[in-house]
Amino acid sequence: MGVLIFAEATKGNYKKNALEAVYYGSKIANQIGGETVVFTIGDGANAGQFGSYGADKIWFNSNENSSDTQVVSSLIAQAAEKAGATYVVLANTAMGKAIAGRLAIKLDASLVSGVNALPSGNTIQKQVFSGKANATFELKGDKHVITVMGNTLQPEATGNDGIPEEISLSAPEPRIKVLDTKTVEGTVPLPEAELVVSAGRGMKGPENWGIIDELAELIGATTACSRPVADTGWRPHHEHVGQTGIAIRPNLYFAIGISGAIQHLAGVNNSKVIVVINKDPEAPFFKAADYGVLGDLFDVVPKLIESFKKFKAS
């Protein structure tokens, strides 16, 4: 019995979602009284830290084909067998989801993706209908694969670092070839951002985004936008949040000049705190907000910037 967590590395580094998955997995291991084993692909150089997030063992395997789901799922499945894992936990990232389904078939396990709480007995909860409801899934059989949503548990470092150990595994021939990887440099990618400043059609045009960028930069937030703003090319597509864009759950979401259509809310209503700035008192977004400011954004946002500057200086 045990829990195997796959920690996804990006160029040898680990993002918050990997720490969260490890911490979450260790909590399940406590529940079932088993071992927490972390598995990662790469040289394992930065994997020692998982020890302080609950890992009893840290395994790594250096394989270069970490983008091929056939290769990766085969390696994880072997590690899971070796660990005698009852649960296999992955972060609910694009890659995590692309691997999880393969793993479930390989291990003949049940699969629930995007869970947002720890299991309770043989049940586990996840969001459905784009965050408009939760569903409790009953797990059958004796092996389970789950992908865990960001911000489900706040990881706490407690114990000491562990010592990564290389394990040898056999891998199938890769069938996809990676030609190039383009990452958005500088800012934290939206799915991982703790603070998000988002703006909509109320901005009137792309030339007015200076105040949004300034506010975001000042507080270290990532920028986002509503769908029509991305569709008309005012902002790049990777900023589009909502039902048909990215679903996010930051600690703080600023919605500036966004009406709060149901499809927009579907992607952001799990934010811990929502601040809405809008000049229309009837804007539906106010109903989903924690704090609301009724006013002209071209007036309010510069004032907000000044207040944050004062706050930072104090």
Partner: protein
């Protein structure tokens, strides 16, 4: 070339979500259904474009009961050549994946298209399962695809960026925004769809590994606190002291 497109149905995006009084089932009363946007706007259209360029046929597949026929006809009206409905309740992603894989195996499918996720259960589970059952490469969240008849160059969305990959057929691909431009069915398409074959096939036996036992609505938001637009210092103070996010 045989191209399979998996289409699912989902409640229309503004549908009100409610449950039976014991919270065990989703209340379908008055709910309008649509074809899952990722399947319709991107996967299906890109598949049709490939056929238009390279020949072959596009087969739309759905796992579901007879009330899905209206959505399947829409796929035919947009331009699929034929359709097949696997006649069973889509009770879990494993059940659905198993049916699609069985069909793909016995019909020499070169490329299997899916949507990135259904917007009802947001699983993104079916595609990876189908590709494993078929022992084929899986390229998820594709936002563009060039194909030369044998091999494809695909941009796929990854966390905070894009990865460009190359793969040869057969493979399984899931469609994200950008893969194609939405097509609206025209009158001719709608008329032709009536004469195109919609085959109904019985499902293969398969036990679900998960079942949904209960639904709940997320806890409601507390009343919004309105802040004077001339007092942004107060907003900053609340974010720092009350909600502790800054």
């Amino acid at each position: 070339m045989n191209i399979l497109v998996c289409i699912s149905k989902t409640p229309e995006t503004t549908a009100k979500i409610s449950f039976s009084s014991d919270n065990s089932t989703f209340n379908t009363d008055g709910v309008q259904y649509i074809m899952n946007p990722y399947d319709e706007w991107y996967a299906l259209v890109r598949a049709i474009e490939l056929k238009e360029k390279h020949g072959g046929k596009v087969i739309a597949i759905n796992v579901g009961t007879a009330d899905n026929d209206i959505i399947i006809r829409k796929a035919l009206a947009i331009g699929a050549d034929e359709a097949v409905r696997i006649n069973g309740e889509a009770s879990s992603s494993y059940f659905v994946a198993k049916q699609i894989a069985e069909y793909a195996k016995s019909n020499a499918i070169d490329i299997t298209f899916l949507g990135k996720e259904t917007i009802n259960y947001n699983g993104s589970e079916v595609g990876a399962m189908v590709s494993e059952l078929l022992d084929q490469p899986y390229i998820s969240y594709a936002s563009s695809m060039e194909f030369d008849g044998t091999s494809a160059t695909i941009n796929r969305d990854i966390e905070g960026g894009v990865e460009v990959i190359q793969v040869s057929k057969p493979f399984v691909i899931s469609a994200a925004k950008g893969l194609a431009e939405q097509r609206i069915p025209n009158m001719k398409g709608i008329m032709m769809a009536k004469r195109k074959p919609l085959n109904v096939v019985e499902p293969v036996a398969c036990d679900d590994k998960v079942t949904i036992s209960e639904y709940s609505l997320p806890p409601g938001k507390t009343e919004v606190k309105m802040i004077d637009p001339d007092n942004m210092d107060e907003l900053v103070r609340l974010l720092h002291e009350e909600s502790k996010v800054i």
